[in-house]
């Protein structure tokens, strides 16, 4: 632990309610998980002294040592593949993949081993490991640093996939993912890392694999996850100024999806717009559309519409504002739905 200091800004004990960024909330959540269970390890590239390129693991190696916060060699398959062995040995590894576009060297291990060992052994092997992935665009980065690969993993049986959108969820969901006996892909909205909100670190969290209604409304339903939740909330606030009340649901869990609240909402509003940065082709958003039309067929007043990234590779960053769904594109889809 940190040595006592005379710095008057350092509180004697952490206040239960604090204003935190998503980045800091993840950091505190990781710290809490490591304090609670000595088997929790953090491993990845630059996660030690540097604290990760986004500083999510800042200070952890200093306090927990090099055997619990491992600066690994630079190979993603190695990070995932050795985490599998550590998990079999009884550890709970939390792997950091530095950027979304770098997860693919580890894809083989994730799909062939992480996802299947429990099934292969009929439950004799459990892999309680978390793979953290900062994902999505909007930060003006070079190629491979702005991707949204979550659908690959949601498509793969044996994995669980979640995404946080705010500091409170960041703090609790990372701890719940570490507690999970299933391997969890944990997608972090990197462009929202520094958005702040009050976090109550004592209030009991809701379940991990549950969607949540963030704003109630009657005209149409918006579903989003990760970085697009903020966009959806902003769109709903703008629509409200024009007298249109939109319901906003944060999906939170991408696999398994908790669509019960979405069905309930669509049965009231009759209209659904799904928002995601990922290309729409064969995606999470397509899956939601398929399931909602199946469950809410007679309630729908308009087809399910999607606002997504385009079916292209992620463009050069000077074009990403055109590529990424924004408030205007969401409201345009809402208008089309309402006008159907």
């Amino acid at each position: 632990m940190a040595a006592p200091t005379m710095d008057r800004t350092t509180p004697a004990a952490p206040a239960p309610v604090r204003t935190l960024t998503i980045a800091k909330a993840l950091n505190l959540g990781l710290r809490a998980a490591m304090e609670a269970n000595p088997k929790v390890l953090v491993m990845g590239e630059d996660v030690g002294k540097l604290g990760g390129v986004f500083r999510i693991t800042d200070g952890l190696q200093k306090d927990f040592g090099e055997q619990r916060v491992l600066d690994t060699p630079l190979a993603e398959s190695g990070i995932i593949g050795t985490a599998v062995g550590l998990a079999i040995r009884g550890y709970r590894p939390v792997c950091e993949i530095q950027f979304d576009g770098f997860i693919f060297p580890g894809f083989d291990q994730i799909v062939s081993q992480v996802a299947k060992l429990h099934y292969r052994t009929q439950g004799r092997i459990k892999l309680p490991m978390v793979i953290r992935v900062p994902f999505g665009g909007g930060i003006g980065a070079v190629e491979h640093h702005s991707e949204s690969p979550e659908s690959y993993f949601a498509h793969t049986a044996g994995l669980k996939v979640v995404s946080c959108s705010n500091p409170t969820d960041a703090y609790w969901m990372i701890q719940q993912a570490i507690d999970s006996d299933d391997p969890v892909l944990f997608f972090e909205p990197k462009r929202r890392y520094y958005e702040k909100a009050e976090v109550d670190t004592t209030a009991a969290p809701g379940p991990l694999y549950a969607s949540r209604v963030l704003r109630t409304g009657t005209a149409a339903t918006l579903v989003a996850y990760g970085p697009m939740v903020r966009t959806a909330l902003d769109a709903a606030a703008a629509a409200a100024e024009d007298g249109t009340e939109l319901e906003v649901i944060d999906l939170r869990a991408l696999s398994p999806m908790d669509l019960g609240p979405v069905y309930e909402s669509v049965r009231r509003t009759g209209r659904l717009v799904v928002v995601s940065e990922a290309p729409g082709e064969s995606s999470i958003t397509g899956e939601i559309a398929a399931k909602v039309q199946q469950e809410c067929f007679y309630s729908l007043q308009a087809p399910v519409l999607r606002v997504t990234g385009f079916d292209t590779p992620y463009p050069p960053s000077k074009l990403e504002e055109e590529y990424l769904p924004d408030l205007d594109r969401v409201l345009d889809a809402v208008d089309r739905s309402l006008a159907w």
């Binding site: 690994t72 060699p73 190695g78 050795t82 062995g85 060297p105």
Partner: protein, 397 residues
């Protein structure tokens, strides 16, 4: 050790389809390079059954221990031949023969202590035997009834890994865990062994496994069975230099052992495991051996290798040399050899009877143990399918 002639790439204008194909002379030259292990080969028992000394590796072996190793190899070979026959009769979908690799697997498998951990590829039926996995427990994988039924934690024997090289990284992580647990550094230390083939050495995961084990000083023995063939590709297609020499580049010892010599394999693997227990790991062992049968029952080696090569390797049979040595030393008599044959016959009968009466798994198995913590959506899908399934007459179709 003769060096293979270099295959020159086709020049401009040369017809690529034929120019890329090596000539018969080139093939033979390449094969010649594989039939000897070279000067660095560790050997304690020659193919003629003569006990020889090695300056770095030796072993005190009693008559009883050597009879035990002989028994292991004979029984495992019989299991392998019986399973191969069961595939030919349509009782198994496929079989992966270990014929010729008995010494490499029994020698290394018997070097392990109960608390050590082993990670196999998919041909390690002999190592499975050493870990107490019953031959019948292997059958389901190849009959298509399961993906392996043994308890990997209790037997200290990981599930078979079919994706080439994946298990090397998993083993490196496990060995790191042994070290983190404080189980390394004295005579009571634990170690891990991981099995892979010559073809796997080209995989990125094997390279990364070498790197991880090296930089974390993991107690891991990399046991490469160089059986000369990765399906149809000779070892020359994987490496320019002998595989054991790769270890030097990663900063740990590499040893080439006669993989058809059970004594040398046992001695070298014991030494390597001991190095790991004491905290001096990792170690690479290249067991120089030969795949005497096809890659799998679906393979046809006559398309890519000469039968002369097999005849040469038959002279180096791993079991025959032990038998000769046991006789020469008067450590075993005819009754011993006959008793082992009877035991092998009994195991073959048991394996056959078990195989042909194996029930198909219930349809609900499709959905079982996908997640440790459940998945409501999947459970709904299962219920819907089982209800549909039950709608057929008698609930079966």
């Amino acid at each position: 050790m003769s060096s293979p002639e270099k295959w020159t790439p086709p020049g401009p204008g040369a017809p690529p389809a034929t120019a890329a194909r090596p000539t018969a002379e080139q093939v033979i030259a390449g094969l010649r390079a594989t039939d000897e292990g070279g000067a660095d080969l560790v050997q304690l028992l020659t193919p003629e059954g003569e006990r020889v000394q090695h300056p770095d590796f030796d072993i005190d072996i009693s008559a009883e221990e050597l009879r035990g190793l002989y028994r292991d190899m004979v029984l495992v070979r019989r299991v392998d031949r019986e399973a191969n026959a069961l595939q030919r009769k349509g009782q198994l979908g496929i079989w992966v023969p270990l014929l010729g690799q008995e010494a490499a697997q029994i020698g290394s498998g018997r070097a392990l202590r109960p608390e050590d951990m082993a990670f196999p590829s998919y041909r390690e039926h002999g190592v499975a035997w050493c870990r107490g996995v019953l031959p019948t427990e292997l059958l389901g994988i190849f009959r298509g009834t399961d993906h392996g039924t043994w308890d990997p934690v209790e037997r200290r024997f990981h599930p078979y890994t079919i994706v080439i090289g994946n298990q090397v990284l998993n083993a490196a992580g496990y060995a790191m865990g042994q070290k983190f647990d404080g189980k390394v550094g004295d005579d009571d230390g634990e170690a891990t062994i991981v099995y892979f083939g010559d073809g796997a050495t080209s995989q990125g995961d094997v390279h990364e496994g070498f790197v991880w084990a090296a930089v974390y000083d993991a107690p891991l023995v990399f046991f490469c069975q160089n059986n000369q063939w990765a399906i149809s590709e000779p070892t020359e297609r994987q490496s320019r230099l002998p595989l054991y020499q790769r270890a030097r580049g990663y900063g740990f010892p590499g040893i080439r052992v006669d993989g058809n010599d059970v004594l040398a394999t046992l001695a070298v693997t014991r030494w390597a495991l001991e190095q790991c227990r004491q905290g001096n790991g990792p170690v690479l062992i290249e067991a120089f051996t030969y795949r005497m049968d096809a890659h799998t029952t679906s393979d046809d080696p006559s398309r890519y290798r000469l039968s002369d090569e097999l005849e040469l390797w038959k002279l180096k049979d791993p079991i025959e040399r032990v038998k000769v040595h046991l006789v020469k030393q008067q450590w075993a008599d005819q009754e011993f050899f006959e008793s082992i044959e009877r035991e092998a016959d009994a195991i073959a009968v048991e394996l056959r009877e078990f195989c042909v009466t194996m029930p198909d798994p219930p349809a609900g198995r499709i959905f079982s143990e996908v997640y440790a913590g459940g998945n409501p959506a999947l459970e709904a899908q299962r219920d819907e399918f089982l209800s549909y399934h039950a709608g057929f007459a008698g609930g079966e179709h």
